[in-house]
């Protein structure tokens, strides 16, 4: 198949079809690195990983290594991890505390705010030719600390982070806020990092709210590994949403989420029943959250992807993921596990053991996801396979703008039945990044889904 010069030609959203090329083509992959990962807001790490001046955590943006660091004055920076002299990685530790990044190659040194501290033999060899102020480590154009999560972009023209997040904010909030409804207050208790042979978009799309893939987790649902499994509860988590109306939302900036709204006067579903003390704690959190948030407490998260490659799991288990691109058919997954920083040790211990048996390459649930992503990528690489589009027509036309669900307005292009329209929305934006559209378009300008009907007429 010849490659359309416009990425938009890969995404036939009117018919709900998307070309397999976008998951396998090296050419498309290069364009993603150049046009998408250089512009979009990317999740880099969490404040709790760098609490003290001089603390750093080595992260990634796209294919590239960056250092998330708190400088001596306490200011957070994200710096490209590549020496300005010949490119050597100035930091090959995963995390730690330092006052200087010393390049192993020729020993240029940089302070924790990225500025050059020393160049060996500067006076004899460089004086008059090199202005030290111009050779700091490359720093991101914009950085935002949102409830402890650090996001960055290389594009100085990018809209500010909260504009970018848009109406996806309150969904992401549910993952970042305390279980008892206090805003923020999460901490990262560990990061899984692993490499799997699949295109990064399979993972990103899965977390947009692919509820339809539930059958692939049948084995774990049959045996029961959730927080109430010892009480004979099957499934991989407590079903706290059994009375809720689920909602699947697509947003102008390309994000997509799956959340739920409890009905008015709903009954609390007992959870974490393996241990009565844990169960009591979460019941308390539930009551307290209700007290703080009122009717809004009926709104609960499930999963979501913040465009392009940051996903979250909001409740059981609770984490943030980055799907770092490695190549067209390889991805590096990083999963940051979250708990309330001030939760009792017993709660943290209970949660971490649950997270570990559920999540990631050793997790009983997600192993089956990885198997699917791998072979879906592999089996789409063939010349014949590439001629045949993927089908995204599920629940096409079933979404509406800003509906009221169980008495609460849910903003976005929202479906109340299992759907793939978030993926279609995601790929519409994706194509516009690759086609280098301006920021107002990337934020949804001209997308008829977000134009109120009255205004359109």
């Amino acid at each position: 198949m010849t490659h359309p010069s416009k990425a938009a030609d890969f995404v036939d959203w009117r018919r709900g079809q998307i070309s397999r090329e976008i998951y396998v083509s090296e050419d498309v992959y290069r364009r993603e690195l150049e046009t998408l990962f250089t512009r979009a807001w990317l999740f880099v790490g969490h404040e709790s990983q760098i609490p003290n001046p001089g603390d750093f955590f080595t992260s990634r943006m796209g294919e590239e290594s960056v250092i998330l660091v708190r400088d001596k004055a306490g200011v957070i920076h994200v710096l490209l991890n590549s020496c300005r002299h010949r490119g050597m990685k100035v930091c090959r530790y995963e995390s730690g505390n330092t006052s200087l990044f010393t390049c192993p190659y020729h020993s240029w040194t940089y302070t924790t705010d990225g500025r050059i501290r020393g160049i060996p033999l500067y006076k004899a060899l460089y004086e008059g030719n090199l202005n030290r102020d111009e050779w700091s480590l490359v720093e991101v154009a914009k950085l935002h600390n949102y409830k402890g999560t650090i996001w960055a972009t290389w594009d100085p023209d990018a809209p500010d982070f909260l504009t970018y997040l848009g109406d996806a904010k309150i969904h992401l909030d549910q993952a970042l806020d305390c279980r008892d409804g206090r805003p923020g207050g999460s901490e990262v208790i560990g990061v899984h990092k692993w490499v799997f042979p699949a295109n990064w978009k399979f993972a990103a799309e899965n977390f947009l709210g692919d509820t339809y893939h539930n059958p692939s987790h049948r084995s774990v649902d049959m045996i029961g590994i959730g927080p109430s499994a010892l009480e004979g509860v099957k499934g991989r988590r407590d079903n706290e949403l059994e009375q809720a109306q689920h909602v699947w939302c697509s947003f102008p900036a390309g994000h997509g989420v799956h959340s739920a709204v409890q009905p008015e006067g709903y009954e609390f579903v007992d959870q974490f029943k393996n241990d009565p003390e844990i169960a009591d704690y979460f019941r308390y959190c539930h009551e307290e959250r209700k007290r703080r948030l009122g009717e809004d407490a009926r709104f609960l998260p499930f999963v979501g992807t913040i465009f392009p490659n940051t996903s979250y799991h909001g409740r059981q288990p609770r984490s943030l993921c980055s799907w770092h691109p490695h190549s067209a058919n390889e991805t590096e997954g990083w999963r940051f596990f979250l708990v309330d920083a001030d939760a009792p040790t017993k709660i943290k211990d209970f949660l971490r053991t649950y997270y570990m048996r559920y999540s990631g390459p050793a997790g009983m649930t997600e192993q089956d996801d990885m198997e699917n992503w791998l072979y879906a990528t592999k089996a789409s690489m063939g010349t014949i396979a590439r001629r045949h589009n993927f089908n995204y027509t599920q629940s096409m036309g079933a979404s509406e703008l800003n509906p009221v669900v169980n008495g609460i307005e849910v903003r976005g292009d929202v479906s109340q039945q299992v759907t793939e329209h978030m993926a279609v929305g995601f790929y519409r934006r994706w194509a516009q990044y690759l086609d280098q559209e301006p920021w107002d378009v990337l934020m949804g300008k001209g997308d008829e889904r977000f134009t109120p009907k009255a205004a359109a007429e």
């Binding site: 208790i189 560990g190 084995s219 774990v220 590096e332």
Partner: protein, 188 residues
């Protein structure tokens, strides 16, 4: 200061070598069970109070290895940190026949080498508990082209229950930082 952690060494006498052979034999039986997919039988070789632990390995500065190289059992996230209930669940999951990450089943070969007894309680001649160290090389191939090699060190505490050795505590040090595999769907 050396960056290594000291390994205890007990007297090499006849009782030691006899005990070591017995432990090696136990490990070979374990490997045989797993590689021939007799997973339920393998579970019987694990103590009821099992702790099965595989930390993640971090890249840290010289001098910080003892403190920071490996994630910890008592806090935070590791690859595995579980009890017998959870390991049993993993076996149950495979036996459903719809655990797609292991359906069709992978072909595995567990090789165990460099077995040493670090400690024998009360002594080698009448040991009821042993602390061991060994190296493993686990080869996994699944479906057609997928092949992984997991290599590392293992530190076990085995206790004798009614005459049979059981794994009470297993610490698996996989020699990788970012996991070079999509899954850890086999046992170690």
């Amino acid at each position: 200061m050396d960056a290594t952690v000291e390994t205890p060494r007990i007297l090499r006498d006849d009782a030691y070598y006899t005990l070591r052979r017995e432990i090696e034999e136990f490990y070979y039986d374990e490997a045989e069970c797993i590689d021939t997919r007799r997973f339920t039988e393998w579970l019987d070789m694990l103590h009821e109070d099992l702790r099965y632990f595989m930390p993640m390995r971090h890249n840290v500065k010289f001098g910080q290895h003892a403190e920071r190289e490996n994630t910890r059992e008592d806090e935070g996230i590791s690859w595995f940190n579980e009890d017998k209930w959870t390991v049993t669940k993993r076996v149950e999951q495979i036996l459903t026949g719809v655990h797609y990450a292991e359906e069709p089943l992978s072909r595995t070969t567990h090789m165990i080498t460099n077995v040493q007894v670090l400690q024998a309680l009360p002594d080698a001649a009448s040991a009821q508990e042993v602390h061991t160290s060994c190296r493993f090389h686990t080869y996994l191939n699944r479906v057609e082209y997928e092949t992984y090699n997991f290599v590392g060190k293992r530190y076990d505490r085995l206790v004798r229950v009614d005459g049979d050795w059981k794994v009470r505590h297993r610490k698996i040090l996989l020699d990788q930082n970012i996991l070079q595999a999509k899954n850890l769907s086999t046992f170690f």
